[in-house]
């Protein structure tokens, strides 16, 4: 598990961990806290082609529905089936066991650093 400062971020409150041409994606602790208890996660299937910025999944809490946006163009390599069975992992460990999908990409768009993301939250 990477530390907050090693991850990159999107303005949609997702974190991205880049390893070679694989991006692991989850939602930030801030987003998980805002949603409240997550009760249902809907993730794209392995092999799905994703376009950066499009809505590819949903994270539902008792109170609201959060959308999962693809942070990069690519193909779904893996989805976290543990989180589909146990959605509360998104709350208990958003940056670790609560990861959502792994995407194989060819080109990485500009993402936010931890400092930039933190600054965004402060606004």
């Amino acid at each position: 598990m990477a530390t907050e400062s090693e991850l990159q971020y999107t303005s949609e409150h997702e974190w991205v961990l880049v390893d070679g041409n694989t991006a692991t994606v989850g939602i930030t602790a801030y987003a998980a806290e805002k949603l409240g208890d997550v009760v249902f996660v809907d993730l794209p299937d392995v092999g799905t082609t994703l376009a950066s910025g499009s809505i590819v999944g949903e994270i539902e809490s008792t109170k609201s529905v959060g959308e999962l946006f693809a942070p990069v163009d690519g193909t779904v390599l893996e989805k976290n089936s543990a989180v589909e069975d146990t959605p509360e992992l998104v709350n208990s460990d958003p940056l670790g066991e609560g990861w959502l999908i792994k995407i194989e990409f060819t080109e990485l768009p500009p993402l936010l650093s931890f400092d930039e993301y933190t600054a965004l939250l402060g606004e």
């Binding site: 806290e33 409240g36 208890d37 009760v39 249902f40 809907d42 949903e58 539902e60 809490s61 008792t62 109170k63 609201s64 529905v65 509360e88 709350n91």
Partner: protein, 382 residues
Amino acid sequence: MTDRHSPLNAIHVAAGASFTDFAGWQMPVRYSSDLAEHHAVRTAAGIFDLSHMGEIFIVGPEAADALDYALAGKLSATTVGQAKYSLLLDRSGGIIDDVVVYRTGEDRFMVVANASNREVVAAELTDRTAPFECEVFDESDELALIAVQGPRSREILIATDGFAIEGGHPDGRDVGEKLSELKYYRALSGSFRTQPVLIARTGYTGEDGFELYVSPDHAAELWNALTEAGAPLGLVPAGLASRDTLRLEAGMPLYGHELGIETFPVQAGLGRVVATATKGDFVGREAVEAGPAPDARTLVGMVADGKRAARADYEVYASDDSSEVIGVVTSGALSPTLGIPIAMAYVDAAFAAPDTTLSIDIRGKRLSYRVTPLPFYRAKKD
């Protein structure tokens, strides 16, 4: 509008609550987990800060008659210590607010209004009761409201030192007996460490519970005493998120969702609340007697399989492959107690019968829902 804060705000901040804006008030939406808070209320107890609610008093020799005219129910038929759920109707039969009325004396009533409607309720009551010998006081800023809800609520109140019941023993030794005798929708005047407190066996969770009206200056002391005595019995602070799923499971309407100015009581299943047969003229009578339009929709409960929950404003269709919109969801969630999606919706009368299969568009995907009688959840009686 500047945010209003409850007299218990500092306690909520210290407890690490997340806040939400509710009718201009910053109120706790959850402390840690809304699901855990929900389950605590179903299995033990939760304590809620409801200080944003409005409390409007009608006092005078004709207060009962005045409320018979101003509200939908027959308040003159209540006895001292009784509470009654009622509606403030407009002349067209629509619902301005739903209220709980406590008769706290022969000539004294307290009307508890939703925070968002406090001003309009106070103004309407003032206006409607003007011809009667009574006065209206909006005491909302002078009263905090703390609710203890859940099967262990009575034990928790009894375990809390400092309560005494008016007319009872000053040292409070008879509090346990008096609270055990107190029936649902009844209230007792009492005190907590010299401060007056109204102890009502009412609530909005579908569980046994109490609502305590106390001065804002003493709300923190009461809250702390209850939480200290209650913690060993499983009491946890609970926020508005859990309150919403609790009331939804209990099939209780929420103003702005199931009730509104366009809603006739009968559509919301509240025809019994309107005392057309047993009292004289009241505001909204003609319209209510004429009834809503023949094609008016009716409120139903709906359940589905799976985990995807319909939410407020989602459209309801006659079937999964029909494009005919026959209703709209007013509240919906994955029921924490039942583990299935539940919803309340207004649907065309032809589709309102129990076991009718309907279809809801959940963000582009259709899901079959089945009409079911309300409530979804009923507490076991002990």
